[in-house]
């Protein structure tokens, strides 16, 4: 029997130039209020001048397999949706903020209208066969989205053939953003 759909994102951070097109695309697509963000760019510089290395990372919710935000939600508003994606049902959210405290990636924020909001992997686009907005606009093609359980998917191939790392896996969250080096 085929495994259920499991959406993941594979990110080639060494191809990322930190242009933040993904951030703007997300804001536009999802109507994220001004001053808030669902995805963001982290830039890490290591070393001492002139021996420096730099990594740009397009960060967002990790859509964990063991999401602490969902486990800590007292009403079930935070839930795991189709494809393993972590979602918030706005009508059930009391704004208690337990999920914000629970998220090790600080990927959630309090929407000015009183509910907690976060990256949805653009589930409204994915449902109609499109890719998330951030993935479609990335000019260097460093973001890859798909079903890791689909034997023919690009992300499955990348996760199977390349070295990857995840972030804060030691916290037991089983994060589903895979960071790989480009070939």
């Amino acid at each position: 029997m085929a495994k259920p759909i499991r959406y993941v994102m594979v990110i080639e951070s060494d191809k990322c130039v930190g242009c933040a097109a993904c951030v703007f695309a997300c804001k536009q697509e999802n109507g994220v209020p001004e001053g808030f963000t669902r995805d963001w760019i982290e830039q890490e510089v290591r070393g001492v001048f002139p021996q420096l290395t730099m990594e740009n990372r397009s960060q967002r919710c990790q859509h964990c397999d063991h999401p602490p935000c969902v486990y800590n939600c007292p009403t079930g508003a935070s839930h795991i949706g189709k494809g393993g994606v972590t979602l918030v049902d706005r009508d059930w959210c009391t704004g208690c903020k337990a999920c914000i405290a629970a998220c090790p990636y600080d990927a959630r924020y309090l929407h000015p209208e009183g509910f907690v909001d976060k990256c949805t992997f653009c589930n409204h686009r994915v449902e109609v066969g499109l890719e998330p907005a951030c993935v479609t606009v990335c000019p260097t093609n460093c973001l890859h989205f798909g079903d890791v359980n689909d034997p023919n998917s690009k992300v499955r191939h990348m996760v199977r053939t390349r070295k990857w790392r995840t972030q804060k896996g030691e916290l037991g969250t089983k994060p589903q953003l895979y960071w790989v080096e480009s070939q």
Binding site: A20, V23, G35, F36, T37, W40, I41, E42, Q43, E44, V45, R46, G47, V48, Q59, P68, V70, Y71, N72, C73, P74, T75, G76, A77, D91, W92, C93, T94, G95, C96, K97, A98, I100, A101, A102, C103, P104, D106, R108, Y109, L110, G114, F115, E170, L171, G172, T173
Partner: protein, 316 residues
């Protein structure tokens, strides 16, 4: 050397998490206080039975528990961002969410604590307003007393379990936090009840003093275990201790929690037991202040503790 810059700047999240403030700290304090009153009075009546010579200070102090709990729940209500959705707490039960357990525990507390109040005050006019109420409840006194101990302990423990379940926040992520909160809650509950004692009965006063001394000492032990547990855990938990040992909360923690909340009451109580001094309100007031300070510091320090670990990772 590492330098990390981020474009994320979400209010209440960056640069440090600051989602929970004074209202949550006040709720934790009042919840612990009520838990303490319930555990102590429940144990008292369970062991001793409901007798007519119950000291007046116990009967008076326990009246406060549903009132203080309601006040605490009001502070909690203030913290909710989407207040109209409050009812969802009571249309669901989430087994993995300590906050969901807490919502239901709070509802159970009311009938349990009010039944105990009715039994202990059955000769008072406002109980006799309701015909035969005390008589109907009386046969179940043992169960009610036990239920007060159990639900009180659950109330005192769950807040600590709630905070300690957040793996994301190293300072909270420690199983000893729940017993620390429970013992501190029982300690503040005892202090609150002693405020109602008029000091006329010397024997009673000495018994109370010994109990208080025991509670303060157990809180010292619980805090020692809390810190030794953090200091022997993963790296991010070790570095989170910096917050109260050298970091921004050091002064307020050592002065208010350790000094005013534990050491001074310990000294005053010891002197009082040795009949060197007479202190009626000072010692309980200090314990209450220390309990409130402990909640406030734990709530604040826990929220910034992830950044401490990140900061120390980045530093050479």
């Amino acid at each position: 050397m590492n330098e990390l810059t981020s474009t994320r700047n979400n209010p209440l999240i960056d640069p440090n998490l600051s989602i929970w403030g004074a209202d949550v700290a006040l709720y934790l304090f009042l919840g612990g206080l009520v838990a303490g009153i319930m555990v102590l009075t429940g144990m008292y009546f369970f062991l001793r039975g409901i007798k007519d010579d119950t000291p007046a200070f116990i009967r008076n102090a326990m009246l406060a528990s549903p009132i203080l709990l309601s006040l605490g729940m009001f502070f909690l209500f203030l913290d909710l961002e989407n207040k109209w959705n409050l009812f969802w707490f009571y249309l669901s039960f989430q087994v993995t969410s300590p906050m969901s357990w807490g919502a239901w525990i709070l509802i159970v507390i009311y009938p349990v604590s009010i039944a105990m109040i009715v039994l202990a005050n059955r000769d008072r006019w406002w109980v006799n307003w309701f015909p035969r109420l005390a008589e109907r409840v009386a046969p179940y006194w043992k169960g009610i007393a036990l239920a007060n101990v159990v639900t009180g302990a659950l109330l005192g423990l769950y807040t600590g379990i709630l905070l300690s379940s957040f793996t994301a926040r190293p300072f909270w992520n420690n199983g000893v936090l729940a017993p620390v909160f429970l013992i501190s809650g029982i300690s503040t509950g005892a202090a609150f009840m002693i405020l109602f004692h008029d000091g006329s009965d010397i024997r009673e006063k000495e018994e109370l003093g010994l109990m208080k001394l025991g509670l303060i000492l157990s809180e010292v032990v619980a805090l020692l275990l809390f810190f030794s547990s953090l200091l022997t855990s993963a790296g991010n938990q070790q570095s989170s201790v910096f917050l109260v040992m050298g970091g921004p909360y050091t002064g307020v923690f050592w002065v208010l929690v350790i000094g005013v909340g534990l050491l001074l009451p310990l000294l005053l109580q010891s002197l009082e037991i040795l009949h060197r001094i007479e202190s009626r309100f000072m010692m309980p007031a200090m314990v209450l202040a220390g309990g409130l300070a402990l909640r406030a510091i734990v709530v604040h320090a826990g929220q910034v503790s992830q950044s401490v670990a990140a900061l120390q990772e980045v530093l050479p």
